[in-house]
């Protein structure tokens, strides 16, 4: 757990932080959008309903005629007013965006109105527009809130083509960095948990078991060793000599135990009663046991006979065959069940 899972989560956390930083800086969505169309070809150009507030509420409409002496006008009004003004004409409608920098248009003919004007006024004098501006060559009109407005552009009676551009500055940008930071935080939390809580032996997580006199095996590694070992394994294949892993193996301590088993055998009889083990858990025995218990293997907790005891037993078999075997070395199980010895 600590050797593999925790470093993996750690690397993931670092990756997510890096991605979050990139999303916040290099890959940030653009806030200024300008879409343009040129060669409109008709006298009147108008935007469809909702087009002006497509990206953001406030918009800047710029019209540039191909000749610098032509009178161009742009006005903002409601859709019904604008379609009333251009009744009976062929107009170019701006219908949408094609990618982030160009507008789609379509030419259409507006139905004729039923009433004709008695005293027609010029474009910029009309009462219907909420804002209008006229100029020669090119004109710009900004609107703070264009949510239900439509733009109408009049290129003059001698209309040649003109280019129309709509510019928005996005005030609310989509945020891709925060989810990355959130994931990085989760991975960091998982790293910490995997290195500490999830790597604890179960008796430490539940309740303490009674103290064991036998020495604990050192088969769980320190965190730093685990990281270094993983990194070394990754980089080892890139050209360095492939070293033997430094991971401590469970076999080595057992061999040590086997070797030391003979010495306990010579000390005298050791009474080990397996039924004395408290299967439900044990109260805390003190801080000195903490270090050793962390390194115990899970297997040890589930067997009545510990591997050390088995090792001792086997070593005694190895020393059997001498004349003094009856009077010595009584350990658990077979010999005592064999009945009384006389």
């Amino acid at each position: 757990m600590r050797g593999v899972v925790a470093p993996v989560f750690g690397l993931l956390a670092v990756t997510f932080v890096a991605l979050g930083l990139l999303n916040a800086t290099l890959w940030r969505p653009i806030s200024s959008v300008t879409a343009r169309v040129s060669d409109t070809g008709t006298r009147y150009v108008l935007t469809d309903s909702g087009m002006l507030s497509l990206i953001d509420d406030s918009v800047r409409v710029t019209v540039a005629a191909s000749s610098s002496t032509a009178d161009v006008c742009v006005a903002l009004g409601t859709a019904k007013d604008v379609s009333g003004w251009v009744a009976g004409e062929t107009v170019t409608r701006i219908t949408g965006m094609d990618g982030w920098s160009s507008l789609t248009t379509t030419k259409s003919r507006v139905a004729s109105g039923s009433t004709s004007a008695t005293l027609p006024v010029s474009f910029k004098d009309s009462d219907m527009w909420s804002a209008s501006r006229c100029s020669t060559g090119s004109v710009t009109l900004s609107a703070k809130d264009a949510t239900d407005r439509v733009a109408l552009i009049d290129l003059g009676s001698s209309a040649d083509s003109a280019s129309v551009s709509l510019h928005w500055t996005r005030r609310t940008l989509p945020d891709f960095a925060t989810p990355m930071y959130f994931l990085a935080g989760l991975c960091a939390a998982m790293t910490v948990l995997a290195a500490s809580v999830f790597a604890m032996e179960p008796d430490r997580r539940r309740h303490r078991r009674p103290a064991r006199r036998v020495a604990r095996r050192h088969d769980e590694v320190a965190i730093v060793e685990a990281f270094l070992g993983s990194l070394r394994t990754l980089t080892g294949s890139w050209g360095r000599r492939h070293r033997r892993g430094v991971r401590a193996h469970a076999a080595i301590p057992i061999r040590q135990e086997l070797n030391s088993g003979r010495s306990t055998h010579r000390r005298g009889p050791v009474v080990v009663d397996p039924s004395a083990r408290n299967m439900l858990g044990a109260p805390s025995r003190g801080s000195h046991r903490r270090k050793t218990s962390l390194r115990n293997d899970d297997v040890e907790q589930t067997s009545v006979i510990s591997p050390e005891e088995l090792a001792e037993y086997f070593s005694r078999f190895a020393g059997e065959g001498g004349p003094d075997t009856i009077g010595t070395g009584d350990d658990a199980g077979p010999r005592s069940q064999g009945g009384d010895s006389q």
Binding site: P29, I30, G50, D81, W85, A87, L119, S130, P174
Partner: protein, 335 residues
């Protein structure tokens, strides 16, 4: 073994880098324009726009008043208001100043803005009282076509104590009506025609019971009675005929189901002097309009009347009420 390890590691690094591309923030596609779902009625003008239009029109009329010339007045006025104001200016040219009743205050207490998307469109505005405490005016601003501007189509002086119906607030807008609106005590066209009949015949008209008494009728009745006395002394006769002008009607629907109607009624007053006498202009105004004409025994004075009627909903059973009127002689001729 080493080479395979290296290749495997390289592939793993590349794959993980490739997968992280999906986590990169992109702009994505620009939003698509949704199809128009125009079901809500929006007012044709904002309150700010209406105020600007009203000020523009009243300023133009003021200029013509000051210049005492009706030239260029048709840019700001149309319909019955134009006829009435032209006559008032002609009278003012010789009397020296406009009649006090021609004052139109520029402030407004209520604006009724239509939501209709076609043309012609009418905006009803109720002004404040004048500076010399005359009653409020009901202005009808009308845009005949999309390429026209708004012009003052009718002005009616509201009667003191007249109850106007309720309308939606200006930011929501009200709906215009037509001359044939049904569901009312009478259609607007019928109501105007019946009122013209009542004006002509007085209480002997068959429609007299449908209308509640109002200041205009009382005023006219008093005037007729006075003139009649004078005529009888001179063995003359007099008669008035009232004819509603077709198509010169503006209707706005109120929130209680009734309609507020402003219409033009033309009337002619024929006075015949008896026993060889001449029939002369009866007032200063008529004198000015008559000008240098030659008086005969018959004098015909043409009037333009503007009346504002409130027609209640059919279920209420109430009477039609006149809430405002205007009356002005426009032509005096000897026949």
């Amino acid at each position: 073994m080493k080479a395979r390890h290296r290749i495997a590691a390289a592939a793993a690094v590349l794959l993980s880098c490739a997968m992280t591309v999906g986590l990169a923030g992109c702009n994505g596609q620009p939003p698509v324009l949704a199809a128009e779902s125009s079901s809500t009625q929006t007012p044709d003008l904002t309150v700010v726009q209406e105020k600007a239009i009203r000020h523009r029109i009243l300023d133009g009329i003021d200029k013509a008043n000051k210049a005492k010339s009706a030239d260029g007045l048709d840019e700001y006025m149309s319909g019955p208001a134009l006829a009435i104001r032209s006559s008032e200016i002609a009278i003012a040219k010789s009397t020296g100043s406009l009649d006090a009743k021609t004052a139109i205050p520029s402030g407004a207490v209520q604006t009724v803005i239509p939501t209709d998307s076609g043309w012609p469109r009418s905006v009803f505005t109720i002004t404040t009282t004048t500076s010399d405490q005359q009653s409020k005016r009901l202005l009808v601003l009308r845009q005949d076509a999309a390429r026209d501007n708004y012009r003052l189509w009718a002005v009616a002086r509201l009667f003191q104590g007249a109850q106007l119906p309720k309308f939606e607030i200006a930011s929501l807008g009200s709906s215009m009506g037509t001359a044939d609106d049904s569901g009312l005590v009478a259609t607007p066209a019928q109501a105007v025609a019946r009122y013209a009949d009542v004006l002509e015949k007085g209480s002997s008209s068959s429609y007299a019971t449908q209308f509640s008494d109002d200041y205009f009728r009382q005023d006219l009745a008093t005037l007729s009675a006075t003139v009649q006395e004078g005529m009888e002394r001179n063995e003359g006769t007099q008669s008035q005929t009232f004819t509603p002008a077709t198509g010169q009607i503006a209707v706005m629907r109120s929130t209680d189901g009734g309609d507020l109607v402003v219409a033009r009624i033309d009337s002619t007053w024929i006075r015949k002097a008896g026993s060889g006498r001449q029939s002369l202009p009866a007032s200063d105004a008529e004198k000015v309009l008559f000008g240098k004409g030659k008086a005969t025994s018959t004098m015909a004075v043409s009037y333009v009347n503007v009346i504002a009627l409130y027609i209640p909903h059919a279920g209420t059973g109430e009477k039609i009420t006149a809430v405002g009127a205007e009356r002005q002689p426009v032509k005096v001729e000897a026949r």
